[in-house]
């Protein structure tokens, strides 16, 4: 019986139509085991009052109560909105800075290898380290930044970088941008390297100035690279959790609360895993929306370039 099954399976695997599935099988198996399987479990817990410290609460079913609670919880929605705003601002700024860096490095021919390594320097920093690093840089009393500003005579205030409403969010955004702009820069630089020279020369012959060349030829060409970078970044923006948690923990007064800090506190500190997982599901939907959006833009940009998507 078993031998027969094995043979049948063997025959299936060798059929030409099956080859792609056989090739994809390892990837699918790993993802199902590491991501999908645990996610189904956490989906189930989001319908329970599950608390870490009371394992028996896993078997109480409370239907949609966790979700109802979230939907009426103003703090959650403020954090939700702030997360969207944070992502939108950070990803766009990273794109702009990454573009600037790529354009600058592309012009320089001497010492580029060193410059490229410097450009990728922040990628060597673990997010948790980035958090500590900027926590100390932005410390208002003994931090490096305020010390520098005061020494240079630019201010006589102790600026509370991590407290003031907009500054706190801005400081976190700075840390996040510092850490992740490299990804954009390197992909956009790759895009610039791949650019054919002829269209640019033709445009110059036609009398286009630098800006026009950039706007109408260079930019459309490297946009697909930008969308790749944005898709990659929106895939793992949740890395920002490590940074925010160390720098401000979501405070003060919830001014820097993002979905991920809220989820972690609800789940681990308050030990309310069921509710935290319900929140996590809402946040996953947000990530999927962002990723899907950039992905469709990427496909559109490829089509614009004439590549077969």
């Amino acid at each position: 019986m078993k031998a027969k099954m094995d043979r049948r399976l063997g025959r299936w695997a060798l059929r030409p139509q099956s080859i792609p599935f056989v090739l994809l099988l390892p990837a699918i198996l790993v993802i199902v085991f590491v991501v999908l399987f645990p996610l189904i479990f956490s989906l189930y817990t989001s319908f329970t009052p599950y608390r870490l410290t009371r394992p028996e609460s896993l078997w109480t079913f409370i239907g949609l109560r966790n979700y109802r609670r979230i939907f009426t919880d103003l703090d959650f929605w403020i954090a939700f909105g702030r997360t969207i705003l944070f992502l939108a601002v950070v990803i766009n700024l990273e794109f702009l800075f990454g573009l600037l860096i790529a354009l600058l490095i592309n012009r320089i021919t001497w010492g580029q290898r060193v410059l490229r390594t410097v450009m990728m320097f922040p990628m060597m920093f673990s997010p948790i380290l980035v958090g500590f690093q900027f926590k100390f840089i932005f410390n208002d009393n003994i931090g490096v930044l305020n010390n520098a500003l005061q020494s240079l005579g630019l201010t006589d205030q102790a600026i509370a970088w991590l407290v003031d409403g907009w500054l706190a969010m801005g400081s976190i955004a700075f840390a996040e941008i510092w850490m992740s702009t490299s990804v954009f820069a390197i992909l956009l630089l790759a895009g610039l390297f791949a650019m054919p020279r002829e269209p640019i020369e033709a445009a110059r012959v036609d009398g286009c100035n630098n800006w026009q060349v950039f706007r109408h030829i260079t930019l459309p060409f490297i946009m697909p690279f930008a969308f790749i970078a944005m898709t990659i970044r929106s895939l793992d923006v949740a890395r920002a959790y490590d940074i925010v948690d160390v720098m401000t923990g979501g405070g003060p007064a919830g001014r820097t609360e993002l979905l991920w800090t809220l989820i972690a506190r609800t789940g681990y500190d308050n030990a309310r895993m069921g509710q935290a997982n319900a929140m996590a599901y809402v946040s996953i939907i947000l990530s999927i929306a962002f990723t899907y959006y950039f992905f469709t833009r990427l496909v559109a940009a490829r089509r614009y370039m004439g590549g077969a998507a």
Binding site: I101, G143, I288
Partner: protein
Amino acid sequence: MPKRLNAVVSWVLTFLVMVIIGLPGLWVILSGFRPNREILAKPAVWVPERLSLDNFAAIFGLGDTQVAIPVANYFANSLVIAVTSTVIAIAIGMSGGYAFARFRFRFKNGVFLGLMLSRTVPGIALSLPVFMVWSRIGLIDTQFGLILVYVALNIPFTIWLIDGFFRQIPKELSEAGQVDGCTRWQAFWRIEFPLARSGIASAAIFAFLTSWNEYALASNLTRSTDSKTLPVGLMDFTAQFTIDWAGMCAMAVIIIVPALALTFLVQKHLIAGLTFGGVKG
């Protein structure tokens, strides 16, 4: 003349940008060689009065402090976990990427998007469910447990990049090889793989850096020196009331230097690889 001015401006700008990128990181590295009293001081001590290896000595338990951090274990764990997970992710990614690049099949777009979206699940949401499953099957605090998670983390991006590279290579090349008597398997290794090599290298460096630096999941899935990685080891410098920032910086140097050296060595491939990959779909 304006051209000259242009060059000067772009040099100055480049320099400024590099300073902004480099300074916060250099501050960390420099702090690894300075005592706490000098780093977090007011008024600030701008020119280091004393550079020493004291913080490193303390990590290795050589100073007059009694606390040694098992940094050699962490380093070994990090290396084994990052390298193994990268190699596996690349192997699986090549197989999957090849499938997407060379075959038409049902649900192709659905499978592709599904694999991509698996990466959007935030680590913090994944950490507990994975922990529960891992603890049932005995993968907690093992290198293998973490390797498996990192493979899953790196598969989507790896498949995507490698898919792009294989599409760049004309199908005809491989077909020509097969006409010459190669099997499809041989044609792949002799013709397609060498052409996609720098693309695969760039996927590998991304995967390696992700695994090397990951903290959120590792902090939940590791327990002891059996599996703790370097980023998790950073937390050894925090106690309830204190953070030994100088010690942490010294440890950071130990984490950063190998990654930086590796990046410097392979970055030529990285740019070349990304150039031809991914985009033209």
